[in-house]
């Protein structure tokens, strides 16, 4: 009886793993094609055989994508746009994250009349579709003389991100023990000391969540980038699009794939690095149990 049950169990296991493996292959297939294509020469690509490994490995497409591919009329690769994206994403993530943390702190620990309405309105901003604000935002950026600049995009992403970061931090701080805040007040901590010395150091899990969320959103944004920044100040997503569309007769699939990989790598790195710091139970020990 038990032997039968055991065999059935392993059979079910095997089936499960087969299905999971199948799904994994399906999901990883595009990545595989991208990677192999980016290391092939153009001639090899034209022979077909999309799934084959490169017969002759070459780094030339990567070098070209980074330094000499033509985007529009300029042929200096995507590296300039890569750094544009860095210039946008770093301040946008830091500032929106910090503002969200502050909002969460005030909305939970320094409650004022109407704090629920304020939070509700901020939450509402999470549900506003990008397309709706394109025209008003273009007008605002024009007035602020920030149109066509990375600074302008930073502003857009901060404004758009605050809703989400506030939501994350508010919910995290709502579960943060009030007794800790009271203890710190009695110890003489003021508004900012309380935030920077007591709450923020205990917020690593939610900081990681916020950074991952904001980083991927800002880095992968295309619509705002293409609408509010063109030419030299465009982010990498827009540059990638332009690279693929800048036709010089033959489609350089290997260069396109290499450029796409370059554009995708930072978000992957953030996932891998930040995931390591995704500590659970950091709060244990501050209060009972």
């Amino acid at each position: 009886m038990s032997a039968v049950a055991g065999r059935r169990f392993t059979l079910a296991r095997a089936l499960l793993y087969t299905i999971l493996l199948l799904f994994a292959v399906v999901y990883l297939m595009p990545l595989y094609v991208m990677l192999t294509t980016s290391f092939k020469t153009l001639e090899e690509i034209h022979q077909g055989n999309m799934l084959a490994l490169p017969g002759q490995w070459t780094l030339a497409p990567w070098r070209e994508a980074w330094g000499s591919a033509c985007i529009g009329l300029e042929c200096s690769g995507i590296h300039g746009y890569f750094f544009n994206s860095i210039k946008i994403v770093v301040p946008a993530v830091l500032i929106s994250g910090l503002l969200g943390a502050f909002n969460g702190y005030v909305l939970t620990k320094w409650r004022f009349r109407g704090h629920k309405i304020v939070f509700g309105l901020m939450l509402f901003s999470c549900f506003i579709p990008f397309q709706i604000i394109l025209l008003p935002m273009a007008r605002v950026l024009g007035i602020l003389h920030l149109a066509n600049s990375t600074a302008g995009l930073v502003l857009v992403h901060i404004v758009y991100g605050i809703g989400f970061t506030t939501l994350f931090f508010r919910n995290f701080y709502a579960a943060f023990p009030d007794e800790l805040v009271r203890a710190a007040k009695l110890d003489g901590a003021g508004f900012f000391t309380l935030f920077f010395r007591i709450l923020l150091p205990a917020s690593v899990p939610i900081i990681v969540v916020t950074v991952i969320w904001q980083f991927t959103n800002v880095w992968n944004d295309f619509l705002f980038g293409v609408s509010f920044a063109s030419g030299d100040s465009a982010p990498i997503t827009v540059a990638l699009n332009n690279l693929v569309n800048s036709s010089t007769g033959v489609k350089a699939y290997n260069v396109n794939m290499a450029a796409a990989m370059v554009a995708a790598v930072p978000t992957l790195i953030v996932y891998v690095l930040a995931g390591k710091y995704f500590l659970r139970g950091l709060m244990s020990g501050s209060v009972k149990g």
């Binding site: 023990p177 009271r182 009695l186 003489g188 007591i198 150091p201 205990a202 709060m283 501050s286 009972k288």
Partner: protein, 377 residues
């Protein structure tokens, strides 16, 4: 001049009154315990003293200074919280020193103060640990260290032992008491545990429903409760509260208590003058279990012992004592007898009542019936 004066303090949340005019005054070095069932307003009162909650009405005076409107940090008060509230990202030393750091105490002096307190609480070897690496008792010590290090005028404790297991609770209770005796600090301590209140306090304030029921020394509150609530709340097992009647005998008031077939008549010793007004009226008689004993262990030197034979309903041995249950006035009555006696359930036994310890209450107002001046017993 009192050191801490809680003067006619009111608190309302919206239209719901939480504190209805509380008046408490204690002297420097006193250990005041606020005790009462949950929801009686004791924690609210403590938070008000700390400055974490505002007063709706009334006044708080600390060493003659009105502190109502001072922010918590300016009150020179330290508090130990129920959950300990240790800062999770700081070490034990960081936790203890944080208050000093906020007060801009130089690093060297801070270091010394932390070490002094750590020695006092025997947590020197824990200073570099994080709170998550500590046991419950150790966290409790760190929380006390954080309060002690600042040497404030007043310590507040908010049910500090309620998260510890029974054994550790008793140990920490003793330590807090020793600490108070050594440092002679003024403490306000909140608990719902009447044993904690009795053992720790120099003054007990019994509260119920936002009102102060009685303020006094533990012995006063225990022996001389001012109403039925205090009588029933303090003491374990609790005071026997027996419905009975005041009768006149030779011009003196006695109380008559109905047993199953007989009646127990006991002379009144306390509040005799007041009880002369109560002839032939219903009252509630309060007698602690230790005031009803077997004849051999009755205290005949101090007390005034009257015996009666009553049926035994139940016997509960605790090892040290034997609690014998009988019935008087339709209620189960606990008597504390010596173990090893020949008391069997179903049979009768002689009960000795020490009437000098008997208190009498008005069943309608639930207040003690007291003579204006103490009787020359």
């Amino acid at each position: 001049m009192s050191f801490l004066h809680i003067h006619n303090v009111h608190k309302r949340f919206g239209s719901t009154p939480v504190l209805k005019g509380v008046d408490i005054a204690i002297a420097q070095g006193d250990f005041l315990v606020l005790v009462g069932p949950s929801g009686c307003g004791k924690s609210t009162l403590l938070n008000m003293i700390a400055g974490l909650d505002t007063l709706s009405d009334g006044e708080l005076l600390l060493d003659g200074v009105r502190i109502n409107d001072l922010p918590p940090a300016k009150r020179d008060i330290a508090m130990v919280f129920q959950s300990y509230a240790l800062y999770p990202s700081m070490t034990v030393a960081g936790n203890i020193g944080f208050g000093l750091e906020m007060r801009k105490v130089p690093r060297k002096a801070r270091r010394e103060a932390i070490e002094r307190v750590a020695r006092l609480l025997q947590i020197e070897n824990l200073l570099s640990r994080k709170p998550s690496q500590l046991s419950g008792g150790q966290r409790q010590r760190v929380a006390m260290g954080r309060a002690l290090v600042r040497e404030p005028q007043l310590f507040l404790f908010d049910e500090p032992l309620s998260n510890l297991d029974a054994k550790l609770r008793v140990d920490m209770r003793t330590e807090i008491k020793q600490l108070h005796q050594r440092l002679r600090t003024t403490i306000v301590y909140v608990t719902h545990d009447q044993i904690e209140a009795m053992t720790l306090a120099t003054r007990i304030a019994v509260m119920r429903g936002g009102e102060l029921q009685q303020l006094g020394t533990p012995q006063q509150v225990y022996d001389d409760p001012s109403n039925l609530f205090v009588a029933g709340f303090m003491g374990s097992p609790s005071m026997n509260l027996i419905p009975g009647r005041v009768v006149e005998r030779d011009g003196e008031p006695w109380v008559a208590l109905d047993a199953e077939e007989t009646q127990v008549l006991l002379p009144v010793r306390r509040d005799r003058d007041a009880l002369r007004q109560w002839y032939d009226r219903e009252v509630v008689v309060g007698l602690r279990p230790e005031a009803i004993t077997d004849p051999a262990s009755a205290d005949r030197r101090e007390g005034d012992v009257h015996e009666a034979e009553l049926p035994v309903a139940l016997v509960e041995p605790t090892g040290a004592d034997l609690y014998v249950v009988t019935s008087l006035g339709g209620k189960r009555i606990n008597a504390r007898m010596r173990p090893g006696g020949a008391v069997e359930p179903g049979s009768a036994a002689r009960f000795a009542f020490d009437v000098t310890r008997m208190v009498v209450f008005d069943p309608d107002s639930e207040q003690r019936i007291r003579s204006p001046a103490p009787d020359p017993a």
